[in-house]
Structures are given as C-alpha cells and as structure tokens.
C-alpha cells in the first residue's frame, strides 16, 4: 500500500459571526466540522453535496487559502498547517486550484501571457527567458495556441477561459489540484471538452485531484472515489462504481434519486427530500441530516454517527446502516 499523498484529519473550519456593539463573536458558521479522508497519489477524489455543504471550504482550507479552525492536513507526510510562510510557498507550488468561474478568477487587465508567466516568476521556475515558451507550451497542452498569449480574458469564450484557468494551475507543475466546480458554468458540449481535457492532463501529468462538483454524473465519470458531504460533515465515502451501484447513506440515496435521467419513460419513483438544507450556524444535533432524513428516529437526534465500514473501502455515517 502506498501512503496517501493528502491526509485530512478532523478538519474544522468555523467562520465567526460578529455581533453587538463590541463586534464580539456571537456565533459560528460551522462550514466544515470534523472531516477526515485521504487521497492516494494519482487518485481523483470527488466531493459532492448540495450547495452550502462546505465543499469549497474544504478545498480552500486544504490549500491554506483559509485558516483551519482545527484538525490537520498532511501533504506528502508534512503537516501543512504548521508551515511558516517561506515553507508554505514551496507547498503552494505543489498544490494548485482551478476555480468554477473562469471569468471571476482572471484579471481582466492581464493578457494571457502575464496570467501564465506570473506564477513562473513568483515561484522562480526556469529561466525568465524561457517563460514565454513555457506559457505557449501550456496553452497548447490545454488546446489553445501561442497566438492566444497576446489576448485578454474577455476575448475568449467561457470554455476557453476555463482552459486558461487550467493552464495557469498547471504552470507550476503541481502534483495536486483542487478543481472547484471546474465545469459547472459551461454548456454541455463545452463541458465534455473540458472533462476530456482534465482526464488527459491527469493521465499525462500524473496528477492527483480533489474534484468538487454538484453534478453527480460528472463526478461519477471522472472520479475514482467519491466523498458525500452534508452540512459540513462526511456522510459517505466509496469508490465511484460502488457509490452509484450501492449507495448506503440515506442522503446519498436521495441525492442520486433526484438526478433526472436522460431517458424518457424512466420517470422514476423518487425519494424527494423535503425542505432546504438547514443553516450551518445551528446545525441539527446528532446526525445533521436527520431533519430531512426519511428514516430518522429519535436516536438520530442524540448520536453523532461515525463513519463505519459497510463494504470494501466503503464507509457510511448513519446509525441505521448495516
């Protein structure tokens, strides 16, 4: 067994809410609450769950774009949370992020040349005289061309901008990438192009990835394993094939049954969850899913379920699962 590249242990991220004249902390948004998982080298792990479940916060906290409230993140065996600024810089180079919104994540006044050479300068990669060539090579790698170096972000379509976002993340030759909803804003035909591109790059460059998405079809397609989150906590972890064939947790079952299938006549009898996701400020006691769970009992309000094995490499956090 190889050691995991990334180990997340009891990770917590609370966003304080200030109030009163003294602006004291009156409460917390428990965006991520006691989450543990590992990612093996070369693996693509999906993170799914409704919006507000804490997926983005997990990704950003791992990369230390947010300061964790508690828990540890180890990358290649090193505790990332304990690194000083100088050491963190070398880790930044190894861990990169691709954002959902290619529009918002690119500076409108920077030409593509600057977008792609900036990280090379920042991390002192290669000789400055080679930077332009490197940038051109990156563009070709993501299906664009050298001619695009002199253009501004607004001259590109959404799909092309996402390619630029991917090229920027790859510029520093990272080992690990957090892709936060990288195809969610794209039209289906373009989405397929970008998914194929990510798969090719992953294979060519031996990347390890945390792939955040709310489209369960996309996640199943691209991921080896999937983590299902709800209200800051992990509900279930399984291989993609297992999760879709044998979902264990009632939340996973509800999520999967909600996905419309592109086959007419298969209008399924589905498990429709009532209501919206509750506020992470005062999450339900016990199992956070219990207020919408179709099989909840009185015990669910008392016990915080632990992730327990329900199959080979398959864990689920529900006191009623077997």
């Amino acid at each position: 067994m190889t050691a995991p590249l990334l180990e997340v242990d009891k990770l917590r991220k609370y966003f304080p809410i200030h109030g009163g004249v003294l602006q004291r902390v009156v409460n917390n948004v428990k965006a991520v609450d006691d989450i543990s998982f590992g990612i093996n080298p070369g693996e693509v792990v999906g993170l799914v769950g409704e919006s507000g479940s804490g997926k983005t916060t997990v990704g950003r906290t791992i990369l230390r774009l947010e300061q964790a409230t508690g828990g540890t993140v180890r990358f290649g065996g090193t505790d990332v949370m304990g690194l000083n600024a100088a050491d963190m810089r070398s880790y930044r180079k190894r861990m990169q992020i691709i954002f959902q919104d290619p529009y918002a994540s690119l500076n409108p006044r920077e030409k593509v040349r600057e977008v792609l050479t900036h990280p090379l300068r920042l991390h002192k990669i290669g000789d400055p005289s080679e930077h332009e060539d490197r940038a051109a090579t990156l563009l070709e790698k993501v299906g664009l061309s050298r001619d695009h170096l002199a253009r501004f972000p607004h001259e590109f379509s959404g799909g092309q901008r996402q390619r630029i976002g991917i090229a920027r993340a790859l510029a520093v030759e990272p080992e690990f990438i957090v892709a936060d909803e990288p195809v969610s804003a794209l039209d289906v035909s373009i989405q397929a192009q970008v998914i194929n591109l990510l798969e090719d790059l992953k294979n060519d460059l031996d990347l390890t990835m945390l792939f955040i998405a709310h489209d369960l079809g996309v996640v199943e397609h691209i991921c080896d394993r999937v983590i299902v989150m709800y209200l800051g906590r992990v509900m279930e972890i399984a291989s993609a094939a297992d999760l879709y064939a044998r979902p264990n947790h009632p939340y996973t079952k509800a999520l999967l049954s909600a996905v419309p299938i592109p086959e007419p006549g298969r209008r399924r009898k589905r498990m429709v969850l009532k209501g919206d996701i509750p506020s992470p400020i005062n999450p339900p006691s016990g199992c956070v899913f219990r207020t919408r769970c179709p099989i909840a009992t009185a015990d669910c309000a008392k016990i915080v379920p632990e992730l327990k094995p329900v199959g080979d490499g398959h864990t689920s956090a529900c006191i009623h699962t077997t």
Binding site: E220, L255, D276
Partner: protein, 344 residues
C-alpha cells in the same frame, strides 16, 4: 399519452409560433437575428421543452412571446405568434399586460427577478389577481394564501406576510410559481427554472410543476439546457442552435432516434449516472457556438459537425419533415445513420 406519430389532438394549438424572427439592433448599422424562423405549437396540458446551449435564442423566444423584449433594441421582425387563434405580435403594451399573468404566466431562473423585494409575497400575488380578476382586497388575500398552500409552502396564512428575503431559496421558488399561476394562466413559460438549484430542490420543483399541471391543466413551455430534465418533463422537444430550430420531435423520438448531428452530439456529450461500470470517453462536440454576427455559410453547425461535407457548406438546409411529428434541419439527414456512429 404522448409520443404518437400524429399530433396529439385535432384541436387547434393553444399557442402557434410561426417563422418567428426577432432582431436586435446593436448599433445603427449592426443588427442580429437572435431568433430566426422559429416555429412550434403548444397544446393544452402539454409540456414543450426548448433545449439548446446558451445564446441559442431560447430566452429571446420566450420574451418575444411575452412581449417583453427590451424596448428600442429588440423587436419581433417577422412571423406570427397566435394565442388561441389570436395574433399577439401586434398588440399594444396595455393589451399585452392583460395577457401576461392572465393568459401566460412566466417563471425565471432567479426568483428575485419576478419577486419584488419591497412587497410581501401576499401583496404581490394579491395585486396580480386584483388587476386581472377584479377581486376585492380580502378575496385577493385569500387567493394568495390558497396559492401558497397549493405550491406546498407550510403555514401559508403566516407566510403570506413574508417578504421574499424572509424565505429560503426553495420557498422563494415556490412563491414565484404561486404568483405565476395565481390567475390560472393557460400557458406557463418556465425559463431555466431549476438551473441554479441543487438536484434535491430541482426534484421538488419538477414534482410540483408536474402536480400543478395535472391539477390545472396548463400548457408548459420548459426552457432548459439539461437533457435529463427534458426527458423527465417534456412531451415534445424543440432543439435550438444558433437562433434556429434544428430538430423537433416527440420526447421518445428525440432521445431514441435523434436525426440531426447536433442533437445526437448533445446526447453523447453528457456523462450519465452508471457510467463508471464501463468508463468511456465522452464524445465532445468540438469547437464553440458561432457568434450571431459571424454565422458560417450553409448549415450553421457545419464547422463542428463530424458529418459535414461540401453540400453542408452550400445552401442553408431547411427544416424538413421526416415524419408527421419529426422535423430535421440537416442537408444529409436522409443518408445519415447516427445510431451506427454512436455504437462504434
């Protein structure tokens, strides 16, 4: 049931859109045709889905029907729209206001575009029914409560006095539907109503809209780019590409037997649940949608089409009838077997 080869009924359609053309004057000298010769019928109690990628003209089609095109910029420049036999493209603003809400209701992706933040949900629904049905204030309030109940909002008698911001996202969606349906319109136009929602909330909305259609019998024009949603809600499907209809058929037909390469391409490009069993590469459509200011000659899809030959670059293909209920815009549709390619 749906999907038969002949049109569903001999009754005249509720809405008849013929050769609709909508033009935007971008500058004094530059105009674009955002909807170019679009035709379809909508029958009572039926759901027509309009699918296509962003910029294909779906929203402009619906705004043209509603008479809500941006003044001075956009105009219906050709064709006709008949509501129960009555031509509505030439009506005055006052006449169109009568139709909106009363005859045709509309819901959008973002509920806050149809809900006014400074009035309670109850006031907004009441105002609508007072305007269209001349109800008294107290009767209008009762109707508002009934509508909120109908769309499944808990404690409607209390919620009726909520401002939109006091409701959760899912509840606002429901309130918007309640408002759109408060005068029992014969047609509901839903423009990407579930696109911004989580699948769980989307499932609630789709179920609600289905139930309401059963109860109230309205026709629905459902605009979406999600083929899963189309399969679920539609009786008939219109596929748009670059301002034109490229294929239209019953829902079974369009999914099982797409005849236009773009439609088939869309079907093959979506990752489906259950795909991890036998992982296959997605068949992406190369390239991007052309800008309306620089449309390719001939078939507008030809630069991206795997089947394009020289004839596709020549005369622009017309929408042709493959059967009574299946229309295709492709120069090569008679000779192509798209299923064969899918299998390979």
């Amino acid at each position: 049931m749906q999907h038969e080869e002949t049109p569903p009924s001999q009754e005249p359609p509720l809405l008849e859109v013929r050769d609709l053309q909508t033009t935007f004057d971008l500058t004094k000298t530059l105009s674009i045709c955002a909807v170019d010769g679009v035709s379809f019928d909508v029958h009572a109690g039926q759901t027509l889905a309009i699918v296509g990628e962003s910029g294909s003209g779906k929203s402009v089609t619906s705004l043209s029907i509603m008479g809500l095109l941006p003044k001075d910029v956009g105009r219906v420049s050709g064709g006709s729209i008949k509501l129960a036999g009555r031509e509505i493209t030439q009506l005055s603003d006052a006449e169109m206001r009568e139709i909106r809400g009363k005859e045709i209701g509309m819901i959008f992706q973002e509920p806050m575009t149809s809900l006014n933040p400074v009035h309670t949900v109850g006031q907004q629904i009441a105002e609508m029914v007072i305007r269209h049905e001349n109800l008294s204030k107290s009767k209008a309030r009762t109707r508002a409560i009934e509508m909120l109940e109908l769309v499944g909002i808990p404690e409607p008698a209390r919620r009726v006095d909520n401002y939109p911001h006091e409701m959760s996202g899912g509840m606002r969606q429901r309130a918007m539907i309640a408002m759109a349906l408060s005068c029992e319109p014969r047609i509901l136009i839903a423009d990407e109503p579930t696109t911004a929602l989580d699948v769980t909330i989307q499932a609630q909305m789709l179920e609600l809209m289905h139930d309401l259609q059963q109860k109230l019998g309205m026709a629905i024009i459902f605009i979406t780019h999600d083929l899963g949603v189309v399969a679920e809600v539609a009786d008939r499907v219109v596929v748009m590409y670059a301002a034109q209809v490229v294929e239209t058929a019953g829902v079974e037909d369009i999914f099982r037997n797409p005849r236009m390469p773009y439609t088939a391409g869309l079907m093959n490009s979506i990752p489906r649940l259950g795909s991890s069993i036998n992982k296959q590469r997605l068949q992406a459509i190369p390239g991007t949608v052309p800008a309306l200011t620089s449309l390719p000659a001939g078939c507008r899809f030809h630069p991206r089409c795997a089947f394009a030959t020289d004839i596709c670059k020549g005369a622009a293909p017309q929408l042709e009838k493959a059967s009574e209920s299946h229309m295709i815009r492709c120069a090569r549709w008679r000779e192509l077997d798209l299923n064969e390619r899918q299998a390979s």
